[in-house]
């Protein structure tokens, strides 16, 4: 079974299929891409453009909705339907679209400022409702478009134009936040690892309901090398904790190999691989109905960045918001028939004159 077929059976079942084969070219718009040279957004755009054909969806049934920020220019560069909206509001706008149009594959493109600061409220409520959206949160830990102020994911003490003596506020961990809102699908990936990125996107698309994908994205102008430790071959493998469903959570190499096990204090902890028995090592279960363990995993990179989990933290099915709303409409109609305007207007206590 090809991946497209397997997807078709799940989250994409209501979306019309394309008739012929598609290529990356089909998804490129005629607009000149205008990000700074070297921006991580280019890699994400290319990954998305080359991944969309494998979904096999009719292009006209795909919509990209964005807010404001560097990442939010994304829709202009894809030859699908697109809506570049206002700062922070993309999840709200996409909620109206996805709730009234179950036949669309709706993608929200947002950033750490757009999605977690000005639009934080919409984000958590979309997750809680389980609106049928794929939310890609480009996290570069900085405000790029407004030229370099600290963001809600910047580390404490960040020196920027607006914080010359260092930022004071503790950052959000987007994964913890999403899991706290009990999102059904929560994942993290990184701009530089196309294979991993596309693998996560594939699963996100297949999930019906809200999928939140945090993508570490490098801003080479205002916050260069923010994720360098995850990219540099000399450190990468020592700190990247790749979460794979059904597999024991181990990372690092050689003598530095480490494992994750339950801690006696209710969370999880990193220990030397050599110091734990095999059956003590935590096996990743992304389908666990209880989000507690996924939440505990999300805390591993906080605040140290010594080890950073990437992959799918949680993938749990529950009915999507549009489906529940459609069911109410259908139930009301099944009970009393389709609405009649004439009957409605003449309902209640009426009287006749003449």
């Amino acid at each position: 079974m090809s991946s497209a077929e397997s997807l078709n059976g799940k989250g994409l079942a209501l979306i019309p299929r394309a008739e012929g084969a598609q290529t990356m070219k089909d998804f490129k718009s005629d607009q000149e891409v205008r990000w700074c040279p070297g921006c991580g957004d280019y890699a994400i755009l290319a990954a998305v453009q080359s991944f969309l054909p494998e979904l096999g969806l009719r292009r006209e049934n795909i919509v990209f909705v964005s807010g404001i920020g560097c990442s939010s220019r994304f829709p202009y560069y894809l030859n699908t339907y697109g809506f570049h909206s206002i700062h922070g509001r993309a999840p709200a706008i996409a909620t109206g679209l996805a709730t009234s149009r179950p036949d669309l594959s709706v993608w929200v493109i947002t950033g750490d400022g757009d999605g977690l600061s000005i639009g934080g409220n919409h984000l958590i409520h979309a997750l809680r409702r389980n609106v049928n959206l794929n939310i890609l949160l480009f996290n570069n830990r900085i405000y790029g478009l407004t030229k370099g102020q600290y963001s809600p994911t910047s580390e404490i003490g960040k020196i920027t134009k607006s914080t010359p003596m260092g930022s004071l506020d503790k950052p959000f961990n987007p994964i913890s936040l999403a899991l706290g809102a009990e999102a059904g699908f929560v994942a993290r990936t990184i701009d530089s690892d196309r294979k991993h990125l596309q693998g996560v996107l594939r699963e996100a698309a297949a999930h019906r309901g809200t999928s939140l994908v945090e993508i570490y994205q490098n801003c080479n102008i205002f916050n260069d090398n923010a994720f360098e430790a995850l990219k540099d071959p000399s450190t990468r493998d020592e700190i990247t904790v790749k979460l794979e469903h059904g597999r024991p959570i181990v990372f690092g190499t050689g003598e530095n190999e480490k494992a994750v096990r339950l801690s006696p204090y209710g969370g999880v902890e990193v220990v030397r691989r050599s110091e734990v028995a095999d059956d003590e090592i935590l096996v990743h279960d992304m389908h666990s109905p209880d989000p507690s363990l996924a939440f505990a995993l999300s805390r591993l990179d906080d605040p140290s960045f010594e080890h950073v989990p990437i992959g799918i933290f949680r993938s749990v099915d529950r009915p999507a918001y549009d489906q529940l709303m459609a069911e109410q409409l259908a139930a009301a109609t099944a009970e009393d028939g389709k609405g009649s305007l004439d009957a409605l207007l003449h309902g209640g206590d009426t009287w006749r004159i003449g």
Binding site: I68, F83, A92, T95, A332, L344
Partner: protein, 614 residues
């Protein structure tokens, strides 16, 4: 004992009590009985924002005024003929509005020392001479109710709560109202608590019988049905009419209705009403905030729905940025603002016309939006359809300015034939519109200047829209100075060119020199005042604006053809400011901002003053 029956042509009753006394329900039921009897009527509920202010205090007083007549009437009336006062606070709060000689029906059981002290009465006004200029009917409503319900196995508290039905029964007897509908209503309302249902019906009947037997009421009154135009009628509030208008707009446009809304007084009832009608395919979305409400509505509109958001003034301020996005992406959207007293939280349950300038100008950039204001509760139905027509035809957000007075007030409504409703259907664009076979999302209709509307799912017309300035035609991002100037002017020209009907003038003799102009909910009080003035033989013309943007094309000509133009507004002169700027006419403003509608008597005096100063 046969009692005397007296004929009246109209009556104004005010029910007043604690906010927990059920005065709104009592008023609603009396209204329903009166509507069914065939009188013309108009209502004014007036209640505090607090759900239960401390019992027995002045801030906790809730009232419901009903004006009904054997002829067509325009307002809920200036001053009550009858005040039903359920406690000393209700008496004290409302006595100021009560003309000498009016009837007061007071619940003596609540005139206790403690309750009197709460509102600063040293002694009971029912027992000293202070009410000698009114006709006081002292009725122990609570104890009579308790006595009538002795047989029922319900708590004393439940029995006491039925005292409003006793009062309703008494008033129903006093004015010969039909009672079957109220009995049926109570049985339905308390269907799950049959004991309570029976007790309330018993209290209602006991009130009626009390009227018939007591010597405290020697006369009852008849008000004949009004001779209104032929047709089927129902009583309707502004919010309900507005909700029905939106449903009708959905049916008449063939588009599914999507409401994104956040609860806010006094607009929430529209959300409640629309939430009941899922059989029409209506999706109601209670959003996390005002911004999400309008955002979701706009997103749904992008997908081809009739997108609507409902709110009041504070919500409109929050929605402003999204309305601007709708302006520049040129998508249809209906924004309902049920105005209330401001600024800020203001007085949530009180009415005002203070959002006009915000509706017109409360956004960044040149951001023109059509504005429509219904004039009566039932006009909210037609105004909603008109708002949808303009939004869909011109691909633009439209602001509908109702207010608290229209929202909660009610009147008989001649139910329209659905066949007579306008066809506002739209056709989505499905084919490329450029010579080279591409799709230009901002290529305009030459007549309306509206852009095409191609919804997601339409093959070959994939396109991107957004808040950044767009190149004319292609819609691609453009920072070109001349293009921006052109787009600003095109968006303005599109709104300026909307087809709105001419302003009509009511001037029976055609030679009045003074024109009274109004907009929105002041229609009733102005029209009633104009009638009064004309009865004295004076001449005055009346015109009422429903479209505030664009204004009817003949507005300037109409205004200039009178020596004086008087403009009463429940604000500090917002429309007056616009008319002066636009037409250089020295409009005479009359402004009161008390959270209440104008009174006809008050406006009649103002009109007379203007005429006399000619």
């Amino acid at each position: 004992m046969t009692k005397q029956v007296q004929q009246l042509d109209r009556v104004i009753i005010r029910f007043a009590g604690d906010s927990g006394d059920g005065m709104q329900l009592t008023g609603d039921r009396f209204t329903a009985e009166t509507a069914q009897f065939g009188n013309d009527l108009s209502t004014l509920p007036n209640f505090p924002a607090e759900i239960r202010a401390p019992a027995g205090t002045l801030p906790g007083v809730s009232s419901f005024q009903l004006h009904f007549a054997d002829h067509d009437i325009l307002t809920p009336g200036d001053a009550p003929n009858v005040l039903v006062a359920m406690n000393p606070a209700a008496l004290k709060a409302n006595l100021v509005d009560l003309p000498r000689g009016a009837d007061i029906i007071a619940n003596t059981d609540e005139f206790t020392k403690r309750n009197l002290q709460k509102v600063g009465y040293a002694a009971s006004p029912l027992e000293d001479e202070s009410l000698s200029e009114w006709r006081v009917h002292a009725v122990p409503l609570t104890s009579l109710t308790l006595k009538a319900l002795e047989e029922f196995e319900i708590s004393k508290k439940d029995a006491e709560r039925a005292k409003n039905m006793f009062a309703l029964g008494l008033l129903s007897w006093l004015y010969h109202r039909p009672t079957e509908a109220t009995v049926k209503f109570l049985e339905t309302k308390f269907a799950k608590k049959p004991d309570i249902a029976k007790a309330n019906v018993a209290a209602f009947r006991a009130g009626w019988n009390y009227g018939e037997t007591t010597e405290s009421f020697s006369v009852s009154y008849e008000i004949r049905p009004a001779k209104l135009a032929e047709g089927v009628y129902r009583n309707i509030s502004g919010n309900q009419a507005l909700a029905y208008g939106l449903i009708a707009a959905s049916v008449q446009s063939g588009l599914p209705l999507f409401l994104g809304s956040y609860p806010i007084t006094p607009a929430s009832d529209i959300l409640h009403e629309l939430s009941k009608h899922k059989r029409f395919g209506i999706r109601t979305f209670q959003a996390e905030d005002e911004i999400a409400g309008v955002g979701a509505a706009l997103g749904a509109a992008f997908g081809g729905a009739l997108g609507v958001t409902t709110t009041s003034g504070p919500g409109v301020t929050l929605k402003a940025e999204t309305v601007g996005l709708a302006v520049t992406t040129e998508l249809p959207l209906i924004v309902v603002d049920v105005q209330r007293a401001g600024p800020s939280t203001g007085m949530p349950t009180k009415t005002e016309q203070t959002d006009l300038l915000m509706a017109l100008y409360g956004r960044n950039g040149e951001s023109p939006v059509p504005v429509i204001a219904p004039s009566t509760p039932s006009d909210c139905f037609d105004a909603a359809i008109e708002a949808a027509r303009i939004a869909l035809r011109y691909r633009t957000p439209v602001i509908l300015l109702s207010d608290g007075y229209l929202a909660n007030g009610s009147e008989p409504w001649r139910v329209p034939e659905t066949a007579d409703l306008p066809d506002i259907s739209v056709e989505f664009t499905t084919e490329p519109n450029a010579e080279d076979g591409s799709y230009l999302p901002f290529k305009r209709d030459t007549e309306t200047l509206a852009r095409p509307w191609a919804v997601p799912g339409t093959p070959g017309l994939e396109h991107r829209i957004g808040g950044i300035e767009k190149a004319d035609g292609t819609g691609n991002i453009s920072y070109d100075p001349d293009n921006h100037d052109k787009m600003v002017r095109l968006r303005q020209a599109k709104i300026d060119g909307i087809d709105v009907p001419d302003l009509t003038v009511d001037d029976p003799d055609g030679d009045a020199r003074v024109l009274v102009l109004g907009w929105g909910s002041t229609f009733g009080p102005i029209a009633a005042a104009v009638r009064r003035v004309r009865k004295t033989g004076a001449k005055v013309a009346q015109a009422h604006l429903r479209h505030l943007n664009p204004l009817p094309a003949n507005t300037g000509d109409v205004l200039r053809s009178y020596d004086k133009v008087l403009l009463p507004e429940i604000n500090l002169g917002q429309l007056a400011l616009l008319l002066r700027a636009r037409f250089l006419i020295d409009v005479i403003s009359y402004n009161r901002v008390r959270g209440l509608p104008f009174k006809a008597e008050e406006l009649a005096a103002v009109i007379q003053d203007v005429i006399d100063s000619e």
